[in-house]
């Protein structure tokens, strides 16, 4: 009984960690621009596919180049980092195409919701054209678990090793990002831009560069999440990131728009709540997740750790 609970909690924390990554990505962009980047889910998918390819995975029969793959695969950890970087660069491209032109022309910020959604649709469809709609499983021989047992015994409980790794990587990313925001000069500059971009510029901070940095970081977080889910489950198709993107959005609202601790707490809460749904009722998982969201919003309209007012004049 205790073992089952421990297993459940770990599962919940692991998926909660991934939700937190996605939500943090939204938070970074939201805090500097005040808008949601709806391409986040597509970047999540992209990360998973990049990792798959970098590990030496082959393109399936429905892809543009059936059977094609890299001559040699990289070990999972290296592929993971490169895929995160790749997703970050594509996020930069999304900023260039879907956000920057609107800002330059002083357009209504809400329009970026549509343009970023469009960028996401294009990305996912590109993935589908190139890789086909079929599912992919990561090559196991160079996977995260290479050399590790599949199941660990902790306190008498059988724990899937991959879940533990997932949790560790998410924690490292979240802690690293929080420390960077809190302590480093770059993080401080980013927070200054988030509070008031104009004033930050007058203090010598290149606000545009900070906006681009926020996009790169948020894309990298999404790519990281997609790769981890791909490793722990598989890639069920190019659209799989969209679901995580929506879940991340729910977590963002649950935790409080623009709040870093809120995104982390919201992610964990959501993941744990889902994990507590028994397997035979797994169809109710999403229903429970969104029921929690509604309940929290009824009691605290600004989210768990959000500010009371978010309106800017």
């Amino acid at each position: 009984m205790i073992e089952a609970l421990l297993q459940t909690l770990l599962n919940g924390a692991a998926s909660g960690g991934v939700y937190a990554l996605v939500a943090l990505g939204y938070t970074l962009v939201f805090s500097v621009l005040g808008v949601i980047n709806f391409a986040q889910g597509a970047l999540f998918s992209l990360g998973g596919y990049l990792t798959y390819l970098l590990m030496g995975g082959r393109i399936g029969v429905n892809g543009a180049l059936p059977g094609w793959g890299l001559p040699a695969g990289l070990p999972f950890w290296l592929a993971l980092l490169l895929a995160a970087a790749g997703s970050g660069l594509v996020a930069l491209l999304v900023e260039r195409v879907a956000f920057a032109p609107l800002r330059r022309r002083g357009a209504e910020p809400l329009l970026a919701l549509i343009t970023s959604l469009g960028a996401g649709v294009v990305l996912v469809n590109l993935l589908q054209i190139l890789m086909g709609a079929e599912g992919y499983a990561f090559p196991q021989e160079s996977g995260a678990l290479a050399g590790l047992p599949e199941v660990l015994m902790i306190g008498g409980a059988r724990i899937r090793t991959i879940q533990l790794l997932l949790l560790l990587v998410c924690s490292a990313a979240v802690v690293g990002l929080s420390l960077w925001l809190e302590r480093s000069r770059g993080g401080q500059a980013l927070r200054a831009v988030a509070e008031d971009a104009t004033t930050a510029q007058l203090l010598g901070i290149n606000s545009d560069a900070m906006v681009r940095l926020a996009f790169v970081l948020s894309g990298a977080l999404a790519g990281l999440g997609g790769s981890l889910i791909g490793m722990s489950v598989s890639l069920p198709g190019p659209y799989f990131g969209i679901g995580y993107g929506l879940k991340g959005l729910a977590v963002l609202v649950l935790g409080g728009l623009g709040s870093v601790p809120g995104a982390i707490a919201g992610g964990l809460l959501m993941g744990l709540a889902e994990a507590l749904v028994p397997a035979e009722a797994s169809g109710w998982r999403d229903a429970l997740a969104f029921a929690i969201l509604f309940a929290v919003l009824l009691l605290r309209p600004s989210g768990l750790l959000g500010r009371r007012t978010v309106d800017k004049v």
Binding site: S184, T199, L203, I205
Partner: protein
């Protein structure tokens, strides 16, 4: 008054049908306190926005130490040595007083982000220097007791001084002050006057100041320009400006000069 630190040449700015500034020219010499006065809506703040780079001019140029900076974005102008404060104060209200200053001192640190992540000796050294510089400025402006307070919770006069401290943190050669005395009581205004002169000495500043309180400005400034409806109607020492018939007309609503701009 040999070298001009800042020069604005034929600067115009049009907002739709409104000519906010119309062919304004003058130069500010290194080390002087230069006043900018004029009735409400004369274009004073617009001029500051053009000089600091927040608004692009419709025509004309801004020249810094002899080179045009008209096309530079605000952060590049700040790095050249141009800092400003706002009439309606723009502090980072959620950050502490100390952090407000640290943001301004950000670019003076010589350590990179990599240094920061690895906490190298160079990073720790740079951090220490940055904090020392911040504390020194807090001390200078009488804010050190408030260092840990959230900026949004400070009293009005303290907020004004914090905004000045923060601008000074970027180590400017020219400080643009937009109505620094607004909302201060007479005693505080006197204190501000002394403070500005003191800061000019210690930081070897050139100061450009917009102020509605004309007597204060007359005492403080070496030279001043008067704007009315976007046009520069007078330029010179306070004594000259004070007697200019066009200035008297603009302020008293009369028509002493016989011509309206």
């Amino acid at each position: 008054m040999s070298t001009a630190l800042l020069e604005v040449r034929d600067l115009s700015c049009r907002f739709g049908g409104l000519m906010a500034l119309d062919g304004v020219s003058f130069s500010v010499a290194s080390g002087e306190i230069f006043g900018l006065i004029g009735p409400n809506g004369a274009g004073k703040t617009t001029l500051f926005n053009l000089v600091s780079g927040l608004t692009p001019p419709s025509s004309g140029s801004v020249i810094w130490r002899g080179a045009a900076i008209t096309d530079l974005p605000p952060h590049r102008r700040n790095r050249l040595g141009l800092a400003r404060t706002f009439q309606n104060l723009r502090l980072f209200d959620d950050l502490s007083v100390l952090d407000n200053l640290l943001v301004a001192l950000e670019r003076h640190s010589r350590s990179s982000s990599i240094d920061g992540l690895l906490c190298t000796a160079r990073h720790r050294q740079a951090e220490r220097q940055r904090r020392e510089a911040a504390w020194q400025l807090l001390e200078e402006l009488g804010l050190s007791a408030l260092a840990d307070r959230q900026a949004g919770t400070l009293a009005y006069g303290d907020r004004r001084r914090l905004e000045m401290a923060r601008a000074l943190g970027t180590d400017p050669a020219l400080l643009l002050l937009d109505e620094p005395a607004a909302g201060l009581n007479p005693a505080e205004k006197e204190g501000l006057c002394a403070l500005i002169q003191e800061l000019r000495q210690r930081h070897r500043l050139t100061v450009m100041i917009i102020e509605h309180h004309v007597p204060l400005l007359m005492r403080l400034c070496d030279r001043m320009a008067v704007l009315d409806f976007g046009v520069r109607i007078a330029l010179g020492s306070p004594n000259v400006v004070r007697r200019d018939p066009r200035v008297i007309a603009a302020y008293l609503g009369g028509d002493a000069s016989g011509e309206t701009p």
